[in-house]
C-alpha cells in the first residue's frame, strides 16, 4: 500500500514525540528518517522506526539530549551527542561543520555517544544549498569481516559525498563500504534467492551464496569480495570510516560498536561512548571562484553522462541518479510500504495511540 511522504512523516514525528522528544526534535528526526523512504532506501526509513523505539525502551536513547561541542579548533569540533537519536545528532553536527566552513573555508566534525543516523546522504546534502561539498560517514554494528578474517569487526560503514553543480544534477554518492548493504540481503531473503558470491561468507569464513549467511554466524564482505578482487580496499575504506567516526571522537570502534538491534546487548567493556559519525563541509569558493567550480562540475556531469555505453539502453549514471528517480516517482505516486512494516507500524500506533 502507498502512503504520502506527509503521512509517513507525521506518523514518525508523533512516535518520536510519544517517546519524549519535543516537536522540533521529533520533526528533525522524521525529516531524516522519511527522506530515506522518499529516496528509495527503504531499509533506512520508516521500517526502522520500531528499532529506534526499542532502543529507547532499553534506555539507549535520550529524548532530551544536551548535544554539545566538547573540543574544537577554528576548523574542527568534537560533539558529544548525549545518547541522542543519530537522526537528531547528525544534522546538528553537520550544521556545525557548515558554520565552521563559512568562517575558515572548511569544517570537520567528529561525533561520539550517538546512535544510528539514517541515510548518510541526508547529512552530506545539507551542504549543497550552501555551495559546499558535504561529506558524511558513520560506523555501525559489526557485521563485516576484514580480508582473511572470520570475525565480524566492522559495520557496513557508509560514506556519502555531495557535490554541487550549477544546472546539472548534483553528484550525490552514498555507499556502504561492503559489496552489498545489509538491506540488499534482506530483499534476497524475502524472495528466497541466493546471493552472488562476493557478498557474504559463512561462519568458517568461506564464500557462500547463502543470503542468510550473516544471520547464521557469517559475515558481510568488504567491497571487492575477496582478496583477488581487492577486498582489502573495502576493508581499508570501512576502517577509515571507523577511525574518523570513533577514534577521533571517543566513540566505540570496530567490534565494540553497540549493535542497532536492541536484543543484542552492547559489549560489557566499551572503549568509548555510543557510536560515532564524521562530517565535513568544504566551501567550493575556498578553492576557486564559485561560478568557475560550478560550471566545471556541470561539464564533468555532462561528459560522464555521455560516456559511450556498452549497451545503449543502459547508460552510464551519475551518483544520485537512482535516488533522484525514486524521489520523483514517489513524490508523485506515494511510497509503497510492505505489509510486514505496516504490521510493525500498527503495533507502534496502538502502543502510543497514534494513527497512520
Amino acid at each position: 500500500m502507498n502512503y504520502t511522504y506527509e503521512q509517513l512523516h507525521s506518523f514518525a514525528k508523533k512516535i518520536f514525540m510519544a517517546i519524549g522528544h519535543n516537536e522540533e526534535l521529533a520533526t528533525g528526526a522524521a525529516d531524516v528518517l522519511i527522506s530515506a523512504d522518499l529516496r528509495g532506501v527503504d531499509s533506512h526509513g520508516i521500517a526502522r522506526l520500531k528499532g529506534y523505539v526499542r532502543l529507547w525502551e532499553v534506555e539507549r536513547i535520550n529524548a532530551q539530549p544536551d548535544i554539545k561541542i566538547v573540543h574544537e579548533t577554528p576548523s574542527t569540533a568534537t560533539i558529544d551527542a548525549d545518547a541522542a537519536l543519530g537522526l537528531i545528532a547528525g544534522p546538528k553536527a553537520m550544521q556545525v561543520a557548515i558554520d565552521k566552513a563559512k568562517q575558515v573555508g572548511t569544517g570537520w566534525v567528529s561525533v561520539k555517544n550517538s546512535n544510528h543516523y539514517g541515510i548518510a546522504g541526508f547529512h552530506s546534502m545539507m551542504a549543497l544549498e550552501e555551495d559546499m561539498i558535504g561529506i558524511s560517514m558513520t560506523n555501525a554494528s559489526p557485521l563485516v569481516a576484514p580480508t582473511f578474517g572470520k570475525e565480524r569487526m566492522l559495520g557496513t560503514n557508509p560514506i556519502s559525498v555531495a557535490i554541487p553543480t550549477l544546472n546539472e544534477t548534483p553528484f550525490i554518492a552514498d555507499m556502504a563500504t561492503t559489496t552489498a548493504a545489509n538491506g540488499k540481503l534482506e530483499v534476497l531473503q524475502r524472495k528466497k534467492l541466493d546471493a552472488p558470491l562476493g557478498w557474504v561468507q559463512d561462519q568458517e569464513g568461506h564464500p557462500t551464496t547463502n543470503a542468510n549467511g550473516v544471520k547464521e554466524g557469517g559475515a558481510l564482505l568488504p567491497l571487492g569480495g575477496d582478496r583477488e578482487h581487492a577486498s582489502h580496499k573495502g576493508y581499508i575504506l570501512g576502517s577509515i570510516v571507523d577511525i574518523f567516526s570513533a577514534v577521533l571522537s571517543g566513540a566505540n570502534y570496530g567490534p565494540w560498536v553497540p549493535p542497532f538491534v536492541s536484543f543484542i546487548d552492547p559489549v560489557a567493556n566499551p572503549v568509548g561512548e555510543g557510536l560515532g559519525h564524521f562530517f565535513g563541509a568544504m566551501r567550493v569558493d575556498a578553492f576557486r571562484p564559485k561560478e568557475e567550480f560550478l560550471q566545471h562540475m556541470d561539464q564533468w556531469v555532462a561528459r560522464f553522462r555521455e560516456t559511450e555505453a556498452v549497451d545503449a539502453d543502459n547508460p552510464v549514471q551519475i551518483p544520485g541518479d537512482f535516488e533522484r528517480g525514486m524521489e520523483a516517482e514517489r513524490s508523485k505516486n506515494g511510497i509503497p510500504v510492505l505489509q510486514a512494516v505496516l504490521d510493525d507500524l500498527k503495533e507502534l500506533g496502538d502502543k502510543f495511540e497514534v494513527e497512520l
Copy 2:
C-alpha cells in the same frame, strides 16, 4: 641485480639535475621516487624515471617551476604547480596543508598544473611525524571505464590515508580505486598469465581475462569489477578523487587528463591545466587530546591484528604491513631492479653522462 637505496637515489637525483633541476629540487624528487622502490611499489619508482625524462623532452615538465598559492582561506589553498614534476609539487602542497592544520586544526590543498606525483603514500605519511592524519589523492591518465561504460574516463586515481599511532605500527592505506592497479597487470603480462575476471574489460566493454586488454583498447575496471559486485562504488571513489583533485583546483579531469606516456599527446582542447592532486592534514589534537587518540589507535591496530583468521597462517593485516615488510627487507638486502629497467637506466645514464 640489487642496488642500495642510496645508489638509486643518487642516480635519480643526478638525472633530475641533468634535466635542469637545482640540487634541492632534484633531491626532493628522488626522495619521493625511490621511496616507491624501497616500499615495494616497483611500478612507481626508478622504473618511471625514463617516463619523466620523456615528458621533459616534450616540454611538459618545467624544471624551474614557480609553485605558488593562487587562492586560499585559513584552512584551504589552491596551488598552481607551474608544470613542475608532481614529485616536487606534491610534498610542497602537503607541507602547506600541514602548516594550515597547525594554525586552524586542518589544512586542505588542491593542486593544478602538475604531473605524476609518485606513490600517494609518500605525501600522506608526511603528516605522521606531526601527529596529524594525512590524506593524499591524485587523478591520472584515463584508463578506467565507469560502470556500464566502454570508454576510458578515469585514472586509477589512488587514495592514501596515513594515521599515527603511539607504539603500534601506523595505519597507512595507499590504494588505487580500481580492482587492480596497472602495475599488477604488467606483472601478469610479463609472465604471460591471465588476469582474474573483474580486473579488465575488452574494447567492446565485455569482461575479459586478457592481461593485455587495456593495451588493446579495453579498460581497467573500477573496484568491484562489475555491477553485481558494486563496481559503481569504485567508479564513485575514482570520481571523487577526480573532482577533488581537478574540479576544485582547475586541472584537467576525466578523459581530459594528460596521459603520463609521452607518446600520446594531451587532448587538443583541455578543460584545465595539467593534472591535479588533493591533500589533507588533520591534527589529531584538533578533535581530542593527542595521547588519548594515539592510545586508542594503538588499541584499534592491536585488536584488528588479533582478528580470528580464516587460516591461522594468513593473519588479518593492518594497512601498510606489506610496504613495511618490503622496506625492512630491502633496507637490508637492497632493491632488485629488473634487467629491462636497468637497460633504460643505462640509456639515460649514457645520454646524460651519469653512472649508476
